[in-house]
Assembly symmetry: C2
Amino acid sequence: MKTYKIAVIPGDGIGGEVMTEGIKVLDCYASLKGNIKFAYETFPWGCEYYLKTGKMMDDDGLEKLKKFDAILLGAVGFPNVPDHISLHGLLINIRQSFNQYINLRPVKLLPGAPCPLKGKGPQDIDFVVVRENVEGEYSGVGGIRFPDKPEEIALQTSVFTRKNTEKVMEYAFQLAEERNGKRKLTNVTKSNALNYSMVFWDKIFNETALKHQDIQTETIHVDAITMYFIQKPEAYDVLVASNLFGDIITDLGAALQGGLGFAASGNLNPEGEYPSMFEPVHGSAPVLAGKGVANPIAMVWTVKMMLDFLLKVEADEIITAVTQLLQEGESLTPDLGGTATTQEVGDAICGKLAKLI
Amino acid sequence: MKTYKIAVIPGDGIGGEVMTEGIKVLDCYASLKGNIKFAYETFPWGCEYYLKTGKMMDDDGLEKLKKFDAILLGAVGFPNVPDHISLHGLLINIRQSFNQYINLRPVKLLPGAPCPLKGKGPQDIDFVVVRENVEGEYSGVGGIRFPDKPEEIALQTSVFTRKNTEKVMEYAFQLAEERNGKRKLTNVTKSNALNYSMVFWDKIFNETALKHQDIQTETIHVDAITMYFIQKPEAYDVLVASNLFGDIITDLGAALQGGLGFAASGNLNPEGEYPSMFEPVHGSAPVLAGKGVANPIAMVWTVKMMLDFLLKVEADEIITAVTQLLQEGESLTPDLGGTATTQEVGDAICGKLAKLI
Ligand SMILES: CC(C)[C@H](C(=O)O)[C@@H](O)C(=O)O
Ligand SMILES: CC(C)[C@H](C(=O)O)[C@@H](O)C(=O)O
């Protein structure tokens, strides 16, 4: 029996409610499989904590988190706390300090999930975005000169290193090889306008491609890709994108797969030198908080990604269980046209799992 | 009789073919109205010119262009010429040198145009994006340190000035006031991650909002807006975005309005210290070039934007003519399911105009 230690950060708003269901599904999965166990420790960090203590997480927070096998995050964000404080203080801090240089985001339309596009279905929308996650546009480098004067200037510098970019590209090519897909990797760029960073990015992509000649490659500008996602999502299998571009196209991807209620992500340190962190892409949605109406599917999908990563499995039973729920149409939250509570959805998924495992 | 001097840069690929139809429609419009005339001078600049001369445009190109009332551009780009060369040498050079600090892009689904979204129609998709067009992410500031060494680093710096940002915001608020719409302005940001440039951007937005309290405002992150464009395009009226974000969301917008065949733009110097430049958003599409199949509607719409700007009119007859074509379904190019040539579409639009003006 192997026990995995999970650091749980429910965070703000609906974070805690969906987290409860995520853990419920983890525990059901573990007890049905029989040979694994999860031990949790919960950290009360986030914006409420900040309003009380002036800190998004404890000073030795990273030290504490380091001991865990993985981190599960609910959602961070609160109306009274400026986003750039809450995020640089917790989410972006953990991503960068733990060198979680890959942000993996599947975009997959499940049968029964609402698709906004005419004439497209689950067979057309099934790709994964490999997003660079520790540098690039999110490096936090910059400044303001002559603040509030007429000659005020704001500077923000993207920083891309060869070392990290090579690792991201290599990861993406290997994923394209391992995935049972089109064996195709799409490079998302904007080298026609960003004449240093993205020209560099393309160069590393092309260098890495030479080592993976079995993978079909293409390079597409980020503006064009947003259009193609609408017009021909079936053209994509694995995409590799910078931190900012990956952020943008995965929110668009979330819309294609039925909304943020379905968007899961993993912030990975593939070598395991530090714990990886798993989080649903939806935010804290303060207006929904405390009502028991938040859709926990993204969190449950996130848990599946954690299982895949930690146990080196494909915990596809979880996706099957969610698909069954969608197809039956009962046990769905209001955003999906149902009347179930967050908790009832979690219970229903466990019920399905019990028959599938 | 007033004569307007137009500099014509057909450019590469399909640029010349659609330009011919654009000019045809301009001339019909002028002769039907009776009191205006256009005088053209054509410049052979672009990638073919570059391959012959090593230059995208003449050394004194800007000097030459300066004398015109406006510039009409077809498309620039060619497989053999790296994009960052062709664009920084011509398109981006003209935008920045002529201080065309506004890039205006209407996103409007015409009745009869193909919409990719379920349950949305022309009444839902009708907004305009005000894109900053001379600085920001496109400033071209940056460099590579330790080229090709393991420690190689690429830097790209976004530069935002208060002076220009204030002008862009002011323009956007005024447009929201003048437009017969929802009197709403949406600020597109990413201040949760870009902790200097976009925090600054939001600050100037909020300052400018104080002078326009009659306009409803909201601030939305660029990732989220791509999702909302799919889920609720009807929520938008005027949006203001940085150079890069405006680029991305207007390509997505183009998809919503039926594709690049419908996407027009104006690069404006509102004060008229320099000529403004009008261009369809589609590229040079080398594979379609020379076949007479390119859809000229985006170019014709671009001409309408030039008329609006130069003559201070609303040349809506042109949009009505295009809508009639779409609704009748004849005289459309193959991308819209028709069999007409580029030239036949131009002729048909002029035919309609003759009945409308
Ligand atoms: C909250 C924000 C900083 C974050 C990001 O931009 O990475 C979020 O949008 C995401 O996609 O995880
Ligand atoms: C060609 C490219 C540099 C340009 C841009 O990014 O501005 C284009 O995409 C546009 O939208 O006009």
